[in-house]
């Protein structure tokens, strides 16, 4: 147990330089952005002294290193400044959108894992059959389909042609999120409010975006699960289990799959980046009011503080999730220690 705690502390400390580097890169990239944010915000016709005044208010006229230290300090205090477009705190804007993104990514990941792990395990079980080849092909092809295009195609088929599912937004026109909104996770909120009608409306809106995001990432999981399962199925304890007369199906899906899942867990950490990128594109395609759509909207408006804030939150999320995944991995597999 002492080893585990030491590992967790060491791993957490390692996150600090990573976050610091990411924050520095974000600062460097955004301060180099051409097009003066202040004149963009004031409409370009503002007199020189007004622009100067605004620059002073925002602290953009100070030396870069002062701005940098100030920037790091504000991030530590979770203060991401005020939006340049609306008189709103960036943290408030993000808090409003974060739930949408998390809800989408969680359900996307769920689809990925269920589809990926099941198909991968099945393919390994039926190695070198037609089913295996088809699943392997699926793994490669689906990886090469851009997530936004898959989204458009699903919209076309299930939204426009079949008219089964909505293609935009989180709720329909007759549902008002303000009636139930509490945590920002609409599925949870509607349940808490006991509003089943809204719950199903939210659920129906989630189906296409979640499948779009989940299916694109499932290709990697199919390949990983298959490869891991093939290794595990070769091991002695599987042979032992089979020779004891345990049914093949039970051996494959209970004994083998459980052990094959451990390495897949670490891969989940690495897929976080793909998941976030996929979410940004899925949100744009489905007019999903989350962080990705916010980022792009604000890029067009050149709303620096919000752009910076959104990217910082993405960076923190990546760092946090990979930390959690590594810790879970260490708990599950006692061999992982420093």
């Amino acid at each position: 147990m002492g080893h585990l705690i030491r590992y967790i502390v060491a791993r957490t400390l390692m996150t600090v330089p990573m976050v610091l580097i990411l924050l520095t890169i974000i600062f460097a990239v955004l301060r180099l952005m051409p097009g003066d944010p202040v004149s963009a915000m004031l409409g370009g016709h503002a007199p020189e002294h007004v622009i100067e005044l605004k620059r002073e208010q925002l602290g953009l006229n100070r030396p870069l290193h002062v701005q940098y230290v100030d920037y790091l300090w504000s991030v530590c205090r979770f203060d991401l400044g005020d939006s340049m477009v609306l008189q709103q705190k960036v943290t408030d804007i993000i808090a409003e959108k974060l739930g949408a993104t998390i809800e989408l990514t969680v359900f996307g990941m769920l689809v990925t894992v269920v589809v990926g792990v099941f198909l991968g395990a099945y393919a390994a079980d039926r190695r070198r059959t037609l089913g295996d080849s088809a699943i392997r092909l699926y793994g490669i092809v689906v990886y090469c389909i851009p997530v936004y295009w898959l989204g458009l195609m699903l919209q076309l088929v299930f939204g426009v042609w079949l008219d089964w599912l909505p293609i935009a937004g989180r709720t329909g026109p007759r549902v008002f999120p303000s009636d139930f909104e509490r945590t920002g996770f609409y599925l949870v909120d509607t349940l808490l409010a006991g509003d089943t009608e809204s719950f199903f409306d939210v659920l129906v809106h989630l189906v296409l975006p979640a499948f779009t995001l989940g299916l694109t990432l499932s290709g990697i999981f199919v390949r990983l699960t298959r490869a891991n399962m093939l290794d595990v199925l070769k091991s002695d304890y599987i042979l032992a289990a089979e020779s004891r007369g345990i049914p093949r199906r039970r051996v494959v899906y209970r004994h083998a799959l459980k052990n094959a899942l451990i390495p897949i867990l670490t891969m989940m950490g690495l897929q976080v980046a793909l998941l976030m990128a996929g979410a940004v594109l899925t949100e744009t395609t489905f007019s999903w009011p989350g962080m990705g759509r916010l980022l792009l909207e604000r890029i067009y408006l050149r709303d620096y503080p919000t752009i910076q804030g959104v990217i910082i939150v993405f960076a923190l999320m990546v760092a946090f999730i990979s930390l959690v995944v590594d810790i879970v991995y260490a708990v599950v597999d006692p061999r992982i220690r420093y």
Partner: protein, 276 residues
């Protein structure tokens, strides 16, 4: 693994055929396309695919097929150039950093690791917004995000190779650092980067198209699959399927071609690289 060799060759050849076909399309665009991709009177507005307009026409009366043919030039140029730039920079940095070692190497690795775990697309979005629209700008936005991939790969191998006896021997007979790097380490490190390069192009294709789909990276005067996809999206609710279908199919096929090329090469050059 006797019979497996055949399958890998098949994948390699299919990938090469796909990539080859699209490269030919890009090179001979002027001969293949029946219309000028900018011609705003090529046919009726928003007409579905038919004999004169194989892939239909868009809202500005342009021929979709001709735009697909010419669009291959943009995406190939950007993604291949981006992969070349990031491989040159990443390999050089990885070699020097791994060979030199010490504190600078540690710091550089830490920075590269941080960039590596950060979502590449989001970094590319920020870079593209910063550089502004333009073919060269988008190429650099895409190139920068892949530098850590090459750096990590090459640095790791350099660390291993520099311990080898033949490097020691070269040093013993008085070879300089540059000679050791160029003649003894580089040739042993370069083989695996070939596979990574091919898969990198496949990824760069999807990032390029994603950026232009989001409205970043290219001015509206360039013919590009991602931008056509974004435009077609507006007409999707009214069932104009051809505007979103064809650009997407082409992006997927091109990415698939390079992926299959990479997977095939990987199995043939080093069967243990992907098979775990």
């Amino acid at each position: 693994m006797g019979g497996k060799y055949g399958v890998e060759w098949w994948i390699l050849c299919a990938g090469a055929a796909l990539v080859g076909a699209i490269v030919l399309m890009a090179v001979f665009s002027g001969y293949i396309a029946p219309f000028d991709p900018y011609d705003q009177a090529a046919g009726p507005q928003l007409s579905p695919p038919g004999p004169t307009h194989l892939m239909g026409t868009d809202n500005l009366q342009r021929d979709v097929f001709s735009r697909i043919v010419f669009g291959s030039q943009t995406i190939l140029k950007v993604s291949v150039m981006a992969a070349i730039i990031s491989s040159l920079v990443g390999i050089t940095m990885g070699l020097v950093s791994g060979y030199a070692g010490g504190i600078p190497d540690k710091i550089l690795s830490l920075i590269m690791d941080a960039v590596y775990v950060f979502p590449g697309l989001i970094l590319a979005i920020a870079l593209a917004a910063m550089f502004g629209p333009g073919v060269i700008n988008i190429t650099f936005s895409v190139a920068i995000i892949y530098i850590p991939t090459y750096f990590r790969l090459v640095r790791g191998q350099t660390l291993a190779v520099k311990q080898e006896l033949y490097v020691e021997a070269a040093r013993a007979i008085g070879a300089g650092h540059l000679t050791i790097l160029a003649k003894y380490i580089f040739p042993n490190v370069i083989a695996t980067t070939v596979v990574v390069f091919t898969l990198n192009v496949a990824d760069a294709i999807m990032i390029e198209a994603a950026l232009t789909y989001l409205g970043l990276g290219l001015p509206p005067t360039v013919v590009d699959w991602g931008m056509d996809l974004a435009m077609g999206k507006k007409f999707l609710p009214s069932g104009m399927w051809w505007l979103v279908t064809f650009p997407g199919v082409m992006i997927s096929l091109l990415a698939l071609g390079f992926t299959m090329l990479g997977e095939g090469l990987a199995e043939i050059l080093n069967p243990r690289l992907l098979e775990r």
